[in-house]
C-alpha cells in the first residue's frame, strides 16, 4: 500500500477497484462494498448508498397488480332442464376503449365443464393454461373419469384465494358451469379474492346488477333449452343497452350430458329508435 495515498475508508479499496492496492489483508469482502463501515467514521459523506436510501427514505413498498388493463365484462350463466347455458360478449376493453373485439372469454375445460371469465384478460389466459395443465394431468391418470365441474370450481377457488393471500390477486371473476353425471347441473362463481358461491344462475360484474334480477324472476331449473336461450338473449340485450363497455357480439355455450357446444359469434337485434333517444338532452335540463 502506498502510504501517502491513503483513501477514505468508505471508498472501495479492493484490488479490482484500485490498481495501487494489493495488500491481501485488505482484500476482505467488506471493503469491496461501497458502504461506509459506520456513518460517523466517514470523513465526508456525499450521498447515502442506494440500498440505505431504500430502507430509510420511505421508498414505495412492493406492489403487484393494482388494476387491470385489458378487461372483459359480464359473464352470465343459468341452469335449464338438460344442462347449463353460459354467455359473454367478445370485447377486450382497454380502459373504456373497445380495443379487442374477438376475445373469446368462455373456455371449454373438458367434456363436462366450461369456464367463463370477466376481468383482466391476461390473467384469464394464465388461468386457461393452468386448467389446460390440470386437464392433461387428468388425462394422464388414465382412470376412465374426468374432473367434474364441482371439482374445477373448487380448484379455481383455491387458486384465486391463494393468490389473494400472496397479495397478488388474479384480477378476474370466474364462472364455472357444467354437468355432472351423478349430481346434475352445476353453476358456480369465483371472485377475485377467492369468494365463491353456487346457485341456479350466476353473473359477474354488471350482470350482477342488471341480469340477475331477470334471472331471479324468470329462471327455473326445469325450463327448456328454447326458454333458456330466449331468457339469456333478453338478459344480454338489457346488458348491452346499459353497459358501455360491452359490444353486440356474443358467444353462447351450453353443456349437456352429451357434451359441450360453444356457438359461433352472433349479434342480437337491437332497437334504438325510441323517442327518448331522439333528443337525449330534452329530459336532462341543465346538462349539455
Amino acid at each position: 500500500m502506498i502510504p501517502h495515498c491513503q483513501l477514505p475508508s468508505h471508498i472501495a479499496t479492493g484490488p479490482h477497484v484500485s490498481p495501487f492496492v494489493s495488500s491481501p489483508s485488505h482484500a476482505g469482502r467488506a471493503e469491496d462494498l461501497h458502504v461506509p463501515s459506520s456513518g460517523s467514521s466517514a470523513p465526508f459523506s456525499v450521498a447515502p448508498s442506494a440500498d440505505h436510501a431504500e430502507a430509510s427514505a420511505g421508498a414505495e413498498p412492493r406492489k403487484h397488480t393494482t388494476y387491470p388493463y385489458v378487461t372483459g365484462n359480464s359473464v352470465l350463466a343459468i341452469k335449464y332442464k338438460d344442462g347449463v347455458l353460459m354467455a359473454a360478449d367478445m370485447l377486450g376493453a382497454y380502459g373504456s376503449t373497445k380495443r379487442y373485439k374477438s376475445v373469446q372469454r368462455i373456455l371449454r375445460v373438458n367434456d363436462t365443464t366450461i369456464v367463463g371469465a370477466s376481468g383482466e384478460i391476461s390473467d384469464f389466459q394464465y388461468i386457461s393454461n393452468l386448467l389446460d395443465e390440470l386437464m392433461t394431468q387428468d388425462f394422464c391418470y388414465d382412470d376412465g373419469c374426468t374432473m367434474t365441474p364441482k371439482e374445477v370450481h373448487a380448484y379455481l377457488c383455491r387458486v384465486m384465494y391463494n393468490r389473494r393471500n400472496k397479495m397478488d390477486p388474479l384480477w378476474n371473476s370466474l364462472v364455472v358451469a357444467g354437468v355432472d353425471k351423478t349430481s346434475g347441473s352445476f353453476v358456480g362463481s369465483v371472485g377475485m379474492l377467492g369468494t365463491s358461491y353456487t346457485d341456479s344462475h350466476v353473473a359477474t360484474s354488471f350482470g350482477n346488477h342488471l341480469s340477475r334480477p331477470l334471472f331471479r324472476e324468470f329462471q327455473r331449473d326445469d325450463m327448456s333449452l328454447e326458454e333458456a336461450v330466449s331468457l339469456m338473449q333478453e338478459a344480454l340485450r338489457v346488458l348491452f343497452y346499459r353497459d358501455k363497455t360491452s359490444i353486440n357480439k356474443y358467444v353462447l355455450a351450453k353443456v349437456e350430458s352429451s357434451g359441450v357446444a360453444i356457438s359461433k359469434p352472433f349479434a342480437l337485434d337491437t332497437k334504438w329508435d325510441l323517442k327518448a333517444f331522439v333528443n337525449p338532452s330534452k329530459h336532462a335540463v341543465g346538462s349539455w
Binding site: 392433461t136 394431468q137 388425462f139 394422464c140 388414465d142
Partner: protein, 254 residues
C-alpha cells in the same frame, strides 16, 4: 479377486480393463429378462404392446399396468423393473409439462426421449446410485408423425420402425423385420403385433398371461389411448385362432 477381469463389476464408477461398465450391463439384463414389450410404428400411428404373466390368481386383471400416458400425444411402456420404470414415467410427466409451460408447445418426442435417456444415464455416474432396471419405450405422434423411441438405462435413445425388449426380444425383432410396418395401419398391425408376442411365448409354461395394448394414431385423434377393452380382447382372440390355424396347417404339411 480371482482371475483377470473379475472384481470390476462392483460399482458403476469402475471400468473394466476392456472398457466396460459391468453394473450398467447387468442393469440392462433386468430389462432383457423382464416382460416382453413391443413398439411398432405404422403408416398412421404407433402401437405399444406388453405381455404380462398373471402373477397370482387373486390379482385383478388390468391392475398391474405397464403402459402409461405421459401427455396427450405421448405414452410409454416400461419393461423390466416396474418401480424403476415408474420413476422414468414420472420424470417424463414433469419434462413434458415443464416444456409445455415454458415454450407453449408440446414437447417434441426426440427432446423428451433424449432427456429421459439423460435421466437414466445420471444413475450410472455415481457410486452411491444404482442404474435403473428399466427403460422407456415411447410411442408418440407429433408434427413429424408417429414415433417409436427406446431410451435405455445405459443412456442411449434411438428411434425405431419397430423394437422389442424383454424376454424373447430377438425372436420378435426378426419377425418384425419381415413385416412391412410402414404400409400397415395401426388397426391392421394390432393383431400382427399380438401374434409376434404370442409366437415367442415359452410353450412349456402354462402360466396365464394378459396382453396390454395401447395406441396413438389419426384414428384416435393423435391422442395416446389404451386400445378399447372389447377390441383388445377380440384382437387377442383372433391372433390366437390364427396361430392355431397356421400351426395345424404346417402340421398337415409335415
Amino acid at each position: 479377486m480371482s482371475g483377470v477381469g473379475s472384481g470390476y463389476d462392483l460399482s458403476v464408477t469402475t471400468f473394466s480393463p476392456e472398457g466396460r461398465v459391468f453394473q450398467v450391463e447387468y442393469a440392462g439384463k433386468a430389462t432383457d429378462n423382464g416382460v416382453p414389450c413391443v413398439g411398432v410404428c405404422c403408416k398412421d400411428g404407433a402401437i405399444l404392446a406388453v405381455e404380462k404373466p398373471e402373477e397370482t390368481k387373486m390379482m385383478l386383471p388390468q391392475s398391474n399396468r405397464r403402459i402409461f400416458t405421459v401427455s396427450r400425444h405421448c405414452g410409454m411402456a416400461v419393461p423390466g423393473k416396474l418401480p424403476d420404470g415408474r420413476q422414468i414415467v414420472s420424470r417424463a410427466h414433469q419434462e413434458a409439462e415443464q416444456y409445455k409451460r415454458f415454450y407453449g408447445e408440446t414437447i417434441p418426442t426426440k427432446v423428451l426421449c433424449d432427456r429421459l435417456a439423460n435421466f437414466c444415464h445420471v444413475f450410472s455416474l455415481y457410486w452411491s446410485l444404482r442404474p435403473l432396471g428399466s427403460a422407456a419405450l415411447t410411442a408418440s405422434f407429433d408434427d413429424q408423425g408417429p414415433h417409436i423411441y427406446l431410451s435405455e438405462t445405459n443412456g442411449v435413445s434411438y428411434r425405431y420402425y419397430g423394437i422389442a425388449v424383454g424376454k424373447g426380444r430377438q425372436g420378435i425383432k426378426t419377425e418384425l423385420e419381415r413385416l412391412k410396418l410402414g404400409e400397415m395401419t395401426t388397426r391392421e398391425a394390432l393383431k400382427v403385433v399380438c401374434k409376434c408376442l404370442m409366437r415367442q411365448r415359452d410353450e412349456s409354461s402354462n402360466k396365464k398371461y394378459e396382453i396390454e395394448l395401447a395406441w396413438i394414431s389419426e384414428e384416435t385423434g393423435r391422442e395416446f389411448q389404451r386400445v378399447p377393452e372389447d377390441l383388445a380382447k377380440q384382437t387377442v382372440e383372433d391372433a390366437k385362432k390364427e396361430i392355431e390355424q397356421e400351426d395345424s396347417d404346417s402340421d398337415m404339411e409335415a
